[in-house]
């Protein structure tokens, strides 16, 4: 394991020019794809405003908002004081006025000072007002580990939000989804927590300007018949590798990228499990109370008679996110996924 640093690779400098809008399929990094999606949304709707720390001149610590200040000005790209509760709370006020705020939380671990405003305000206003008030707020959160960072920079807090009724939760895994789903999130009249896999920010892929299918739909990344391997975010790539490795061993693994973590596309999940009878769920977040348990409970309820073995979880441990030199043990990797596949097949332990 080597220590990667955040932005250890040199980043393209801001060129000060407005990028051309995406009109045809182009190869973009995941970070640039979100940038393109934000830009498209801002061009389409003057009520879309960005709020966050360092998102202006710097373009965000991950450069996801690069060049947008220059193009849209300080009333649309708002560098805020250093206070997360206020970032979310003022977004609520802006939504009261008809805006569609997009908040950037600098790193996953810094969302908690804003937790009260998210859980007690953003998530509830539509219900509270019997539909009179909408909260079309998108909260962007770079999440997950594997970048060798210091504490609070590698977390996976998604389960706190999937347990919070009134929120939608999305996690993207590739540039195309990053582009399409950020646009859908912003267009949604419901609040959306939008999780971006920070260790995949600089991985490039083709991006078409299409909006694509609804962000509520899971995506079957690789079809298979023996085991269903369910995941989201950065681990989709690892899971796909695991499926290839398993194939060498004669095991056919179906990999599903959930994309929407709340609600979950159980139609797609169920169809897969009816076929395979075996489920492995993998995520970076801690096991207890993580999304894996919820999915397994629901799948057990829906597909009990189809299950040939107890579903298996391959997750981070029930520990605070560990120090960089230990994160390789905490994070599910290819070996641990294969171990999970073996276990659900009764081949091990």
């Amino acid at each position: 394991m080597t220590i990667e640093t955040i932005r250890s690779s040199p980043l393209p400098a801001a060129n000060g020019q407005a990028p051309v809008p995406l009109t045809e399929t182009t190869t973009l990094t995941l970070a640039k794809a979100i940038n393109a999606g934000l830009r498209r949304a801002m061009l389409d709707d003057p009520k879309v405003v960005l709020l966050g720390e360092d998102i202006g001149a710097l373009g965000g610590v991950f450069r996801v908002t690069s060049d947008l200040l220059a193009e849209f000005g300080p009333n649309r790209v708002v560098d805020t004081p250093l206070a997360e509760s206020a970032i979310i709370g003022t977004a609520v006020g802006l939504a009261y006025r008809g805006y569609r705020p997009v908040c950037e939380i600098q790193f996953d671990g810094f969302i908690f000072p804003g937790f009260d405003q998210i859980v007690s305000q953003v998530a509830r206003f539509h219900y509270r007002t019997q539909g009179a008030l909408r909260m079309p707020i998108t909260i962007r959160v770079p999440f997950g580990g594997g970048i060798g960072a210091a504490e609070h920079h590698s977390e996976s807090p998604e389960a706190y939000f999937t347990h919070t009724s009134g929120l939608r939760v999305v996690a993207v895994s590739n540039p195309q989804d990053a582009y399409s789903l950020i646009r859908q999130a912003i267009a949604s009249d419901d609040p959306v927590l939008f999780f971006e896999p920070k260790r995949r920010y600089h991985v490039a892929g083709p991006v078409s300007p299409q909006l694509g299918e609804s962000f509520e739909r899971a995506r079957v990344v690789a079809a298979g018949t023996d085991v269903t391997l369910l995941t989201y975010g950065a681990l989709v790539s690892t899971a796909t590798d695991a499926a290839l490795a398993a194939a060498d061993d004669g095991i056919s693994v179906e990999v599903i990228d959930l994309r929407s973590l709340s609600p979950i596309d159980y139609a797609t999940v169920e169809a897969s499990i009816r076929k395979t009878g075996r489920l492995v769920v993998t995520h970076e977040a801690s096991r207890s109370g993580g999304l894996g348990g919820e999915i397994i409970a629901e799948v057990t309820e829906r597909c009990f008679d189809y299950l040939e073995a107890a579903p298996v979880r391959v997750t981070g441990f029930d520990i605070p996110y560990p120090t960089a030199k230990l994160e390789g043990h905490h994070l599910p990797d290819l070996d641990r996924m294969l171990d999970g596949v073996d276990r659900v097949l009764g081949r091990r332990r």
């Binding site: 009333n75 708002v78 009261y96 539909g131 609600p263």
Partner: protein
């Protein structure tokens, strides 16, 4: 403008009306109430009497089991009516749970104010219709909403103003301080209207703010005014002054309205456990309604007609309130699962269908008891 404190702890308490009802001069505040007529004063008097009556009737309804809880505003009528009546229709109020008189000023029907406390709805009114947000129960949260709204008003080039109402206790919450930071940074057109009613449930204001409430804002770059909150003229003048600053690009202003919570925190509270009786007696002498009454009297305006008419409006409002409250329909069972999202959602849709089926399974015997 001397009365706007840009630094230090203002210890002057601005007044335009003494407790005895004598009109006092203040060069900065006077212009803002200069054009008030006797009719205007009478209208304010009527407002205060009526909201006090609403308050008493709601308290009675709670005692009779018709409301789950009620947070009385007794003693704070001038602070709320004086500020509420200073607003323009296009301004937007973000309040706490005690601002029932402000809701009255925003045209909310008294019965609608009760919905939350009877438990039939979580928002008594449509916030966009009355341009008054659903009152915040989480202390201080609404000050950020007001600030965000005001930032939007500035982005839009509008001259509408957001007004955040909150209590003395709220000033300790991080959110309120962050709101001051944002409002100052973005020069947002927001008025922070703090009713210092001396208590946060059982805690005296001195526990929250050692240096005085109005002294806090200047350190954030926000000018503040400390006014006698039981003096409706001072309240109205100060609010108009602050609104005008905001409308004309002057940014945020902080108003501390020094008043007193003469009742319990809510109907569930027993202030005798923590509050010296003498303090209440002292403040009873500074009653805001008596005070305006005395001014009206000295002007020869407290006529039997005004008294009678005011009484009639109060009686009618109370009767309407009582009937309205008791007549509030219970929400339909399945609304429990409605409006969680603005757009269709597979998770909630399924739970709704399941619960509908479950309820239907009781149908033969007359439905689930609820």
């Amino acid at each position: 403008m001397n009365t706007v404190h840009t630094g230090g702890t203002p210890d002057v308490l601005l007044q335009l009306l003494s407790p005895a009802g004598v009109r006092l001069a203040d060069a900065d505040l006077d212009p803002w109430v200069a054009e008030m007529t006797g009719n205007d004063l009478a209208a304010l008097y009527r407002d205060m009497v009526v909201v006090r009556r609403i308050d008493a009737e709601a308290t009675a309804l709670q005692r009779q089991g018709e409301l789950g809880l009620w947070p009385p505003l007794l003693g704070q009528e001038a602070a709320q009516i004086g500020s509420g009546r200073a607003l323009r229709a296009d301004d937007f109020v973000f309040s706490s749970y005690r601002e029932n008189a402000v809701a009255w000023c925003r045209g909310v029907a008294p019965t609608d104010i009760l919905r939350v406390w009877r438990g039939t709805a979580q928002s008594g009114w449509d916030p966009l219709v009355h341009r008054m947000a659903t009152p915040s129960i989480i202390i201080g949260a609404q000050t950020l909403h007001a600030t965000g709204w005001a930032m939007g008003a500035r982005f839009d080039g509008a001259d509408s103003v957001a007004v955040a109402y909150f209590g003395d206790g709220a000033t300790s919450e991080g959110d309120v301080n962050e709101a001051l930071v944002f409002a100052a940074s973005f020069q947002a057109p927001v008025v922070f209207f703090c009713q210092n009613n001396h208590w946060a449930i059982s805690e005296p204001v001195g526990l929250q703010a050692r240096a005085g409430i109005a002294g806090r804002a200047p350190g954030f770059g926000i000018p503040s005014l400390r006014i006698d909150g039981n003096d409706i003229l001072a309240v109205m003048a100060a609010t108009r002054l602050a609104l005008n600053r905001a409308r004309t690009g002057g940014g945020p202003t902080f108003i501390e309205a020094v008043t007193y919570r003469m009742g319990p925190h809510t109907t569930a509270d027993d202030p005798t456990r923590y509050r010296p009786a003498a303090e209440l007696e002292e403040w009873a002498k500074k009653d805001p309604i008596l005070r305006l009454g005395r001014l009206l009297d000295s002007l020869g305006l407290l006529t039997p007609e005004l008294e009678a008419e005011t009484q009639a409006v109060a009686d009618a409002t109370a009767a309407e309130l009582r009937a309205g409250c008791i007549g509030l329909p219970d929400p339909e069972p399945l609304t429990v699962l409605a409006n969680v999202y603005a757009t269709p959602h597979t998770g909630i849709d399924r739970q709704r269908a399941e619960y509908a089926a479950y309820l239907a399974s009781f149908e033969p015997t007359g439905g689930k008891d609820s």
